[in-house]
Point group: C2
Chain length 344, copies 2
Amino acid sequence: MEREHITLKDIAKVAGVSTATASLALAGDPRVNIKTKRNVEEVARRLKYVPNEIGRSLRAKKAETIALIFPNTPHNAFTHPYFVQLLEGITEILVQNGFHLLLSTSPTETDEAASYDLILKNRRADGIILWPASIKDSNILRIVESGYPVVYLGRWHHDDVLTVERDDFGGAYLATEHLLKAGRKRILHVTGPQSFQVSIDRLEGYKRALQDYKVLFEPQLVVEADYTMESGYEAITRAEQAAISYDSVFAGNDRMAIGAMKALQTLGRSIPGDVAVVGYDNIEMATMTHPTLTTIEQPMDVIGRIAAEKLIHKLTNKGTAEGIEDKQSVVPAKLVIRESCGGK
Amino acid sequence: MEREHITLKDIAKVAGVSTATASLALAGDPRVNIKTKRNVEEVARRLKYVPNEIGRSLRAKKAETIALIFPNTPHNAFTHPYFVQLLEGITEILVQNGFHLLLSTSPTETDEAASYDLILKNRRADGIILWPASIKDSNILRIVESGYPVVYLGRWHHDDVLTVERDDFGGAYLATEHLLKAGRKRILHVTGPQSFQVSIDRLEGYKRALQDYKVLFEPQLVVEADYTMESGYEAITRAEQAAISYDSVFAGNDRMAIGAMKALQTLGRSIPGDVAVVGYDNIEMATMTHPTLTTIEQPMDVIGRIAAEKLIHKLTNKGTAEGIEDKQSVVPAKLVIRESCGGK
DNA sequence: ATGAAAGCGCTAACAG
DNA sequence: CTGTTAGCGCTTTCAT
């Protein structure tokens, strides 16, 4: 069971050359005689030689690895649906470039700083992709502005920092515009907590669309909830009690939209007849409701891909796609039209 | 921006000792003088010294890292809902033990073998957790039976292999039993493709429960679908056309259960009045349907935790929890009672 | 075209 | 108690 690993030395010995030559031969260096090269390769293949990357890393001072760091805080939960998609995008690019992915959670919020530092300083990874926990985080600040190779998944107030962000403003604009174009004028916006940047941005997108379509913004048409389905349900109930009249709902996420639909159906309103509904996120559930939910999709796999490309570009200067040179990228959201808004 | 990393040598120089002493001092070796130790620690702290783990790994011949390998094949999609949970369980244990997690997808099926080998042979990780793609996979076979430190998430036909598996049989038994206890006798079982071991096991659990409760198994009450919501819908339609009578449905997963509920509602059957429904998986959506869906939960975080513990135990001989000594573990499923079956 | 030797950062055996 | 030395596996001058 205790298998000895065959090293370059073994190959060299068997092939009757020095390790230096063996190394060069396997690296395909043109200086080495073609016959020797063939021979070394033959031996390596026969002995199933696999280079030890730790040795190589030590020498090269790089690990060919990037780390994805995400704080495992409870309220991060509502971003979870995207996590797998993000991962898919990232891994796709990494695999293409022969990089590895180190996944790192910060166990507790206070340990975060340490965690970030370690990963980079201990040379386990050459760069990191940072999935933000909340709007402000002094720990993140340090690492992001330290000049280390970091891609931040969100907005950052400093132009030197590489970032990839989704377009919450634009997505909300799209959603609102869709309702406006369908002739709806009184759009109830169920927002998430306004302490989150996401919620603020989506509200702004909503406002801007109204403005562009010359519809007066009415503060009473904005009701705050907390991104859960239940809170979406209650938001409608509250609006009802307040006797607010509206012909459509734009919810800050799909869960709230689904809660809202339930509430509306309980109240006997038809969707989209009486009230049209748009959500945000395009979670799987949006395809299964009745009626199916029109919503905004955020291509998290694209975000992952761009982030990985940016980082690898910074690390290796090998650009793999266009636009990678830009420090900041905003990935546009997409309108996914289903039944809950009528039309097609 | 090109920061020089401070190494042990730097610490030693500044502290006026040899690197050996510095190393011992930082390792807390009792042989080194307390004053020297303090001094070295002082210097290390002041210079913000972080040991280079690559160097350490090379020396120690271990990476303090385990890899999670999962094949990124399309039909793996239906297992996705669990992936994040699994990850949570794994990382929790790894963090506790100071291990790192390397995530590895096999880009294509043919590359899998290579991918498995590499991770271990190139010494990037000390052990791996294997998330199986399909029932049979000759690539997996090699690595699992190679004697390398591997934990396989599923069943394996060889007793020496470390495995952690969920209990599909038991879960299906629970679901069926729940219906039987509620007085339902004609349980329609909507299965997934019988080419998957999951589907087979769940069908077996269903049969066994019937048998234990002295209810005759009727083959016509088993209809095969493909784990999508649409197929669940169609399964009911087909059963209807075949004029099969039933008073309840046990679906092989929640998606099909939801599809089935839709179909039943379209047909004017009340749930659970006319037909009780149980799903499997406890996806988030199960809490949002109307009525909410009674289902079976598989604690994937527990599976992840056990897998990580087993592996670390094998690697370090440090047992962190009971039952880790066992080569094989089966993690029991749990019945989650909601509205779709009536009762409470 | 090939080999000898140095060194990446760390630890451990052995002296002193 | 501390320093010297060697070596983990690899690559890369620098000689030959």
